[in-house]
Structure formats: C-alpha cells, structure tokens
Symmetry: C3
Subunit: 109 residues, 3 copies
C-alpha cells in the first residue's frame, strides 16, 4: 500500500477527484490555504495498492497537465488614448507536485 500525496491547482481538483472516484480510488481532499507561490492549490491524499501507483500518477498527469491560458490582466494599463484597457496575458496553469510514501499498515472499516 502506498499513499499518494498530490498538490494540484484548485481548478483541476474536481475533475481529478471525479475521475479517481469513477476508477474506484479513495481520495481525500485537504483544504490548502495560501499557497503563496501558486495560490489556490488543493492537496489530495489517495491510498493506493503498490501496483496501481503508476496508474494513479498517469491519471493525475492527464487531468492536471500544465497548459497555457490567456487571461485578461487584472490591473488594466492606461492605453495611449488615456483610457484603461485590459490586455490579455499568457499564464501557465495546471501541473502537480506528487509525493509517494510507503504505508506500513492500512485499515478501512
């Protein structure tokens, strides 16, 4: 038995937990406050049989892939006309940090 601890972005949390649940993995979502570097992350802990660890990692990679996203800058700059114009910027979202830890003893009842 292994414990997979995955730190992912909030916006990927629901899709990932739904997918893991469909595939019969037991997932617990921890409230993660104030990721200061990447704000808005979620920590999942997933108990998983040793031989299923790679499958779980593949699912996390699939659902939490890093990708570029165009967002509108939250603080509009003043354009040459003197009017505030929001402008689009490209940000990287998604990604995951995964720790796999060995489990001495596992009980569920």
């Amino acid at each position: 038995m292994k414990l997979v601890i995955a730190i992912i972005q909030d916006e990927d949390a629901n899709i990932l937990t739904d997918r893991l649940t469909e595939e019969k993995y037991g997932v617990t979502k921890l409230a993660t406050t104030g990721g200061f570097l990447k704000s808005g992350n979620t920590t999942l802990i997933i108990g998983v049989a040793k031989e299923k660890v790679n499958e779980v990692i593949d699912i996390i990679k699939d659902e939490c892939s890093t990708r570029k996203q165009i967002v509108t800058s939250p603080t509009p700059t003043v354009g040459t006309t003197g009017i505030f114009v929001p402008y689009p910027i490209e940000v990287t979202v998604g990604g995951a940090t995964i720790f796999v830890v060995d489990v001495d003893q596992f009980l569920k009842y």
Copy 2:
C-alpha cells in the same frame, strides 16, 4: 515513531480527539473539504510511538465505529393522501480509513 493518518467522519472528530488527548496522544486535525464519497470527513494526524500504534487504532475503532442510524429523508415523498410525508431511512455512519506511515525523524520543542 509512526504517523497515524486517520480519515473519519466529522461527527466523530470531537469525541475521538478528546479521547486521544486525555490519553496523552498529540493530535492535529486537518480541515478536509468535500469528501465527495463520504461528505463531511475530517483527517487527523497523530504522532505515536511504534509500540502504541495498536492502542491508537483500537481507540479510533472504538470511537468511530460504523453504525446504523435512522434519519428522516431530506426530500419528503408525496403520500397517498397527497400530503408530503417525511419518511425514516437507515444510513450507515462512522467508520475510518487509517494509514500508518513510518517516521524517519521526530522532533518536538
């Protein structure tokens, strides 16, 4: 030293943490959001000497036993008389998922 990670139902959390504290175990309660399968669960982490792990597991089993509970259905059905009548349903509450993890190094100061 071992780390016991216990995922239990919210309603058992206070009784269990009180009991563990009385018996001098150090417990930390993590806010667990949106257990989607079992909504409303709490994750406890308990640092415990190797030879005390079974005692802690026994306490968790004692305080978080699975049991049947009669609840009134939240969405009343329409009775034959045309009146909405809430009806009692039996649900299983309690239970725990427990992971025991080996600790390399433990410090408290």
Copy 3:
C-alpha cells in the same frame, strides 16, 4: 527525497513560509482546524532533498522558537475596587512538532 511535516503556530506561519520560499523550498500550507491543545496551529508540508533536511529543520527552529509573551488576560478579573481590571499574564508561544517521512517517489511537472 523526504517529506517534512511541520505543525507550527498560526502566528509563525507567514514568516516561516516566506523564509522557506526565499531559500527555494517548496512549501504547502494545510488549513489546520481546532488544534485543541494548542489552538490555532498550521501544518506545513515541505518536500526536500535528503541532504537538506537538517537545514530545513534549522530554519523551522529559528523561525518558530518557543518564547515567553506577555498577554493581557482575555477575561478581566474584578479588582478590589469592584472594577474589572485586565491583568498581564505570561504565556509560552511558538514551538513546532516535526515529522520527517521518507519519500518513495517524487514528481513535479
């Protein structure tokens, strides 16, 4: 790779996470509810290379040292004059509980 799990007081959390981030450690802050013994604690998980564990522990000790603090008692007692007078009391704040756990597999993408 090791996982350092540190339970510290809320008031030390920002300074510690800032310091660890400056020194390029990846920190995740978990919301910890209702520490019943020490109310208001925070749990940090820090993924760290084996040879850096002692450095991280030193940083935690430095930023979360136990120290005495004079606080005004929250429930003022009635003085001899019959007037409620707040009085200063000395409390111990700070400190940390640290678990270091071995990591089987570590991924970041």
